[in-house]
């Protein structure tokens, strides 16, 4: 498996973007179970309204919008995903300085350790 490599913190004053997440003990349901429940709920609501037998159907325009709604939502989510990933890709920082600094530190560390008796 890929071994990630070395880490170096930016030496700029810490702009810690903390997002402290508060205590929220989540239900014992797995994420999969949550999704299935959610989908089942929405799915049955949609089916009840959109596929209802004549007589119980909601008014015309509403029904027309309701029928393709799942597909619309899927496409909307797809667009959102592409936009989000694209944005994040574009704003992915490159740490030139950090890399240079790391090299410097490695040099300094090597020299220091050699002084202390480390043999490579």
């Amino acid at each position: 498996s890929v071994s990630p490599g070395s880490l170096l913190l930016p030496s700029l004053p810490c702009s810690s973007h903390g997002s402290p997440t508060l205590l929220s003990p989540q239900a014992a349901m797995t994420k999969l179970a949550q999704w299935l429940c959610g989908l089942a709920l929405l799915g049955s609501a949609w089916a009840a309204l959109a596929l209802a037998p004549p007589g119980l159907q909601p008014p015309g325009p509403l029904r027309q919008a309701l029928l393709p709604l799942p597909v619309y939502l899927l496409v909307a989510f797809g667009c959102y995903s592409l936009a989000t990933v694209g944005y994040r890709l574009a704003t992915f920082n490159d740490c030139e300085e950090a890399a240079a600094e790391l090299q410097e530190h490695i040099r300094a560390a090597r020299a220091d350790l050699r002084r202390r008796g480390l043999r490579l």
Binding site: P4, S6, L7, L8, P10, P25, F92, I106, L118
Partner: protein
């Protein structure tokens, strides 16, 4: 030494034949084994290492001790402690996780394809697991010792999926997670590849976590 914070370093060899052992043993001699401890793994490296840790907080970082890069683990350690430790004190977090994706965190030497895969995988992870942390596969975290022990008991995955599972479970158990931006400088000497195999095993791990947590 630099930061005024009491610390010790535990280096755990995963058995790769790259000279890590000799360097680590020499370091132990130079600094004394109250400061640096070198261990052979028996069973899970983390669990083994934790038995010897005497501090209140434990930082786990991947040290890429492949050929030529034996020493860089020393550099980050001295820089990292103050900033991450400060963050922990700031919010009294149970876990402080390094993130490449927020603030001025980032990467070095990644081409567009690799960045895309990384962001794509992270997006998928966020959607499926809603973990409450922006970087699950980053390999730098600070844990409170008791928190780490508790998480070790609960987590069952192996490899880096284990890292992901830790954060997810931590949130489930109600632990607080703070974040700190980190710069990820990949493989000081040479490039590391992100191949199809890695992607497949990542997806497998992600789906497993999705179905079991």
């Amino acid at each position: 030494r630099f930061s005024g914070i009491d610390f010790e370093i535990i280096i755990i060899d995963d058995g790769s034949p790259d000279g890590t052992q000799e360097v680590a043993q020499q370091l132990e001699k130079i600094y004394g084994s109250d400061k640096i401890l070198f261990l052979f793994p028996s069973g899970t490296a983390y669990i083994h290492g934790m038995k010897y840790a005497t501090g209140d907080f434990i930082v786990i970082m991947d040290a890429d001790l492949s050929h030529h890069v034996r020493l860089h683990v020393i550099c980050p350690v001295f820089l990292i402690k103050p900033i991450v430790y400060r963050k922990q004190k700031e919010g009294n977090f149970d876990i402080v996780s390094g993130t490449r994706y927020k603030g001025n965190g980032g990467v070095y030497g990644w081409d567009l394809k690799r960045k895309l895969i990384s962001r794509g995988a992270n997006f998928l992870t966020q959607v499926l697991l809603r973990p409450g942390a922006s970087d699950l596969t980053g390999s730098f975290r600070l844990y409170r010792k008791e928190v780490l022990q508790k998480l070790m008991e609960k987590c069952v995955s192996k490899g880096y999926v284990f890292q992901m599972e830790m954060i997810v479970r931590a949130r489930q158990l109600g632990f607080t997670v703070g974040e700190v931006p980190i710069s990820f400088v990949d493989r000081v000497y040479g490039e590391s590849k992100l191949g199809g195999n890695e992607i497949v095993s990542f997806l497998k791990g992600l789906l497993t976590l999705f179905a079991t947590t």
